[in-house]
Symmetry: C2
Subunit: 348 residues, 2 copies
């Protein structure tokens, strides 16, 4: 893999002293100075109208009426001189689009990084989370007795203690993996990013999947960059239609397509699966990495262009599950940017 | 009121032909061309840790543990050459920070407008809405039988039909007030902005209030610009401490402070209350405007600097409750910008 000349020095210094990585890439051209935005804004993709008699238990808001559900919020930024492929950033479990914004310890997030590298970015909130409406009518039905409590939607919150191991800060709360690069001193800010997760109450595939497909078609070419829970979504979107999907980049996907399944939808686009460190120490993650390795091998055997990068195998050590917020987050982002430049043709 | 010279021509043309207002202000200096951002990002204000045994009903996520609640999401943008006072934009009922982004019909929102006029902006999601976590543990308690369904939190959704009159698109669904300026052809996109509202399940004052106060102190001077449901929040924040509040601008507040109450907290800062059209035709809104008029009069009598603007009384007609999304939204934003330049000293 070749790195852009402007990044080489900083990244070499960064690799040599991992804990000093946070500011080194900032010295590169485009990484400091004003952010030049040609266009920014937000819109929604998808959505359907639904009638309910359980909108409210308050007299000042009518109980009966129509609401809109299953829409996906998209915030976008197009830099001046956008010469690189657009990237759609898709957060994971119990989180929202904030995943890609400022890191918990106040450094530049991947959203701004990619914009500064010339990529338009499209940052989404999964359906039923964040700024994408959830469906609260079953709660009102249960509250008034019109519905059974057992039929309430499954809405879960990840506690700090349980999330600790899932995010691989350590093997269990509050142990810390040696050399782990997540900025734990700012963990309080990270916990504030977490929100209740409605995904288990939604049909499969998650309505976020057709919304991503619609977005890709609208953009006429975007990388779908997933994280964790959303890892399978870009593959499911490709199975709907490969149209508009310029590449798939799966950051620590919770799932990869079955190696012995229908691989055709994935053969026409470059695919990168990326994992951090300590995976073999994590019972939740080791089998996932194993399945992704098998998928990548099977896809390539079938004529595809898939690749898997496990960061410690490349000498980049200490990454937690929250790679985009780790101390070396911009080093990994630069690696992804380089991979995209090598594998995805820029938009005409 | 004096308008900045650069805006006068466009606004005169705009006032003369209200339905043609959407593009006229865009011709002004700073309103086209790249958006030059010195710094952007997001963070949270407030928040507390809470232990629960009802985090999840799924085996893969622990039921017991600690979550963080009552934090307020803030997304900010500081323009290059930020010479004007920072503005904190606070959305209303059943909505999130999207209120101030791109309008439903795709025009520039107030967030970008104010940034282009030199104001740093801080765009929040109210506590328990959007990217600010809600507390879903009571749902899991009811689902498993650990809690009573009647004790479920009050979470309401505003239906399109009921919201129609609340937002004053017309007297009732689907009637339309003559000359009404909300872009109804894009109402589908507007309904997608709506989310379930947890505010009735929260203590009073809403935890958003102390979070706004903390934000104001952190910024050492910001305008608190509210809308609708959040209208009382800046006043409640001022009652906690006036520190950091450079001014209050209440866009169609659902409530103003009692005219016969303690007015001291509001006397040291410029206050503007702004209402649109058709208010006297709306049983929900007419008494609110009346109370706000009485508050402004009482505050001024007590030595304050409060002002009320009812747009049709200034010759600006047709505004719905969603003034920041109406066809003439940038005309009204320019009026507010001028008011701020006249009443609030820029930051040192």
């Amino acid at each position: 893999m070749k790195l852009p000349l402007a990044l080489v020095t900083a990244l070499l210094a960064c690799t040599a002293a991992l804990t000093g990585c946070t500011t080194a890439p900032m010295q590169d051209a485009g990484m400091t100075g004003p952010l030049m935005i040609a266009k920014q804004g937000s819109f929604f993709v998808g959505g359907r109208d639904a009638y309910s008699e359980n909108l409210s238990t308050l007299p000042i808001y009518a109980a009966k009426g129509t609401i809109t559900l299953d829409q996906m919020y998209v915030h976008y930024q197009v830099p001046v001189n956008a010469r690189q492929v657009p990237i759609t950033l898709i957060h994971g479990c119990c989180l929202t689009g904030t995943t890609w914004e400022t890191t918990p310890d106040g450094r530049m997030g991947w959203d701004e990084f990619f914009v500064r590298q010339g990529h338009p970015t499209y940052l989404i909130d999964q359906v039923a989370r964040g700024r994408s409406a959830a469906n609260a009518t079953a709660f009102n039905a249960a509250k008034t007795g019109a519905g059974a409590p057992a039929a309430l939607p499954t809405v879960f919150a990840a506690g700090h203690e349980g999330a600790w191991a899932i995010f691989r800060f350590g093997s269990e709360f509050p142990k810390v993996h040696p050399g782990m690069q997540f900025p734990l001193e700012a963990q309080g800010e990270f916990w504030k990013q977490m929100v209740p997760d409605w995904s288990a109450s939604l049909p499969s595939p998650n309505p976020t999947v057709p919304a991503l497909s619609q977005l890709a078609m609208r953009l006429q070419g975007t990388v779908l960059m997933s994280h964790s829970q959303s890892g399978i979504y870009p593959f499911q979107a490709a199975a709907l239609t490969p149209q508009g999907i310029a590449a798939i980049v799966a950051i620590e996907p919770a799932d990869c397509p079955a190696p012995d399944g229908d691989l055709k939808p994935y053969l026409g686009m470059p695919i990168l699966v990326l994992f951090g460190d300590y995976v073999d120490l994590a019972p939740r993650w080791a089998p996932r990495l194993k399945k992704c390795r098998a998928f990548v091998a099977a896809a390539n055997q079938a004529g595809g262009r898939a690749e898997i990068i496990v960061l410690p195998e490349r000498g980049i050590k200490g990454n937690s599950h929250m790679i985009m917020q780790d101390r070396n987050s911009l080093q990994v982002a630069a690696l992804l940017d380089t991979w995209l430049r090598e594998h995805v043709r820029p938009q005409p």
